[in-house]
Amino acid sequence: MPQKNQAQRTFSRGHWILLILLLALTVPWYWPETARAPYVLGLPIWGFTSLVFSLLFAIAMAWAIMTTWKDDPRE
């Protein structure tokens, strides 16, 4: 059975909404099928945008981990 003292289980709802939103924006669904140019860092613009949202996702994820996860004083 689940432990009764599981006060802290995971991120808050706000964290998850932000993370899911950023992850959804890494999927290039919002570009027309012929949108290639301009090219940035050898990537078509839709690919570069996806990479930027991946970076933002990583930053949000690291921030959520470091601020949510409390150290266990017994360790």
Binding site: M1, P28, T34, R36, L51, M61, A62, E75
Partner: protein, 495 residues
């Protein structure tokens, strides 16, 4: 490219590592052997988590897939990050309960939560299948890389370079894994991590060289196949989202990854490691992806199986561009070889622990001694390696196909594993029904080689799996309410 002396030096280094791992043993227990006694510090933990996620698949299969798919394979960057997000669904409470109950395998949690052996064994079976597939992929990658690393030397008479590589390196891996346990495995992970990271940082300079002309790369790729540069269609966007979900749920169920959550010295160590890990795909996966895309105009018209070797083709070419790149490629090749071996050893260690701890110990009426379990685990490592080597010697699929099959089955374990923390009403029977239905959907789709609306059958299976779990809770809640009502009526009638 011949890096034989470096490679031999690396193999020699493995002997003292295995010996040191054995010497550092604090107690003769499975907890100490399979989890290093839960004492892995930040640096080693980062590298061992790194080695768990970035393996032969990353450096051999990913460029091949990017070669075949084009820029669409940028999906690999967010999907590798999604694994860490998946961990965060359960890592905090799991670590707490694992420390309190000295868990060794992921299925220790399933058994602890549900007390239902059929569910525990089914989950252990799915994890075993995924790990066997993963091990097979690593051994196949070892065989391909061996010829490149040794430059055609050190071949057993009568065997090909591929066969020699698979046999010889599998034997080396089992030897040091069974002697040094998790400590030896984690330390070799650290060495390969340092090699890989330093080589990739060095090789990023290649992308800036005039030979590459990064700015014109999309046009050169488009001249061969415009579909590899255009934004994905709606259906391919569904596939992209589906792949992210597969890794979010399936990647987070890597048994060896979960065991590293157990093995971390403290929560502080673990959270710092995961926060750092989430950035690595931007460097490593992006590098692998660009190597595959660069190969499209360089080596057009390769077959699917041939394209699994585009990384080695590209590295051979880069090595001719000067002394700096030659050294960086040599270090990367050595690091890639070490990565394949270190992933194989992690998988083998995890498999051994599941066989011994889940299939053997949990089905015995009397608890066997740790001494007995350890002896058995080491023998099983050899047996598993022998069986998988025989399969590896006859490769049939491309590496990525193996990877897909693994995750689509592994993600079926996620609903009972994760809901165990959040859904108090979920019982073993309902969870097992969900796992079986989800697995059946994944297997049916795989056998028919089809996706539905661009979504993998395993993803649909996992969503149905979640739905069945919730449905079982709802039905049970309804039954309890009805029973309480009828109890109230009958006790009222009695009065």
């Amino acid at each position: 490219m011949n890096i034989l002396p470096l490679f031999v030096a690396y193999l020699c280094l493995l002997i003292p590592i295995a010996w040191l791992g054995k010497r550092r043993t604090r107690e003769r227990s499975t907890h100490d052997f399979y989890l290093a006694g839960g004492k892995l510090g930040f640096v080693v933990l980062v590298f061992t988590l790194f080695a768990t996620q970035y393996s032969g698949n990353t450096f051999m299969a990913f460029p091949g897939k990017a070669y075949r798919s084009g820029y669409w394979y940028l999906v690999s960057v967010p999907f590798m990050m999604a694994i860490i997000a998946g961990y965060m669904l359960f890592a905090i409470p799991l670590r707490r309960v694992a420390r309190e109950n000295r868990f060794v395998t992921p299925c220790d949690w399933i058994q602890h939560r549900y007390h239902y052996l059929p569910l525990t064994l089914t989950c252990a079976g799915l994890m075993t299948w995924a790990l066997l597939n993963y091990l097979l992929a690593q051994l196949t990658a070892m065989g391909h890389a061996y010829g490149v690393v040794t430059g055609g030397h050190l071949i057993i008479p009568g065997l090909s370079s591929f066969q020699t590589g698979v046999l010889f390196l599998a034997a080396v891996v089992v030897l040091y894994e069974s002697v040094g346990g998790m400590r030896a495995v984690a330390w070799t992970d650290a060495i390969q991590g340092v090699l890989m990271l330093s080589a990739i940082v060095g090789l990023l300079a290649y992308f800036g060289s005039s030979d590459v002309d990064l700015a014109g790369l999309p046009d050169r790729v488009a001249a061969i196949d415009p579909g590899k540069v255009n934004p994905p269609s709606v259906q391919k966007c569904f596939t992209w989202a589906s792949v992210i979900l597969i890794l979010f749920f399936g990647g987070a169920m890597y048994p060896q990854g979960i065991q590293r959550i157990y093995a971390a010295r403290s929560a502080a160590t673990l959270k710092r490691s995961l926060a750092l890990m989430v950035f690595l795909p931007l460097l490593l996966v992006f590098f692998a992806l660009m190597m595959g895309v660069l190969a499209i105009p360089r080596f057009p018209n390769l077959s699917a199986i041939e394209s699994d070797g585009v990384m080695t083709m590209m590295l051979s070419e880069i090595a001719t561009r000067g002394a700096f790149f030659k050294v960086a490629v040599a270090v990367l090749l050595l690091g890639a070889m070490a990565a394949i071996m270190s992933t194989a050893d992690s998988v083998l260690l995890s498999l051994s622990s599941i066989f011994v701890h889940d299939f053997y110990e949990k089905t015995r009426r009397t608890k066997p001694s740790d001494e007995h379990l350890l002896r058995l685990g080491k023998r099983l490592s050899w047996l598993v390696a022998i069986v998988v080597v025989t399969f590896a010697l006859t490769p049939r699929f491309t590496l990525f196909r193996l990877l897909e099959l693994k995750f689509e089955l592994l993600m079926q374990v996620a609903p009972p594993f994760i809901l165990g923390f959040y859904c108090r009403g979920l019982r073993g029977g309902g969870a097992l029904a969900g796992v079986l239905i989800g697995t059946a959907i994944a297997l049916t789709g795989f056998a028919r080689h089809e996706k539905w609306w661009g979504i993998h059958p395993g993803t649909i299976g996992c969503l149905v799996n979640f739905a069945v779990c919730w449905l079982s809770v709802a039905i049970r809640a309804g039954d309890t309410t009805t029973k309480n009502d009828s109890d109230a009526v009958s006790s009222g009638g009695g009065a």
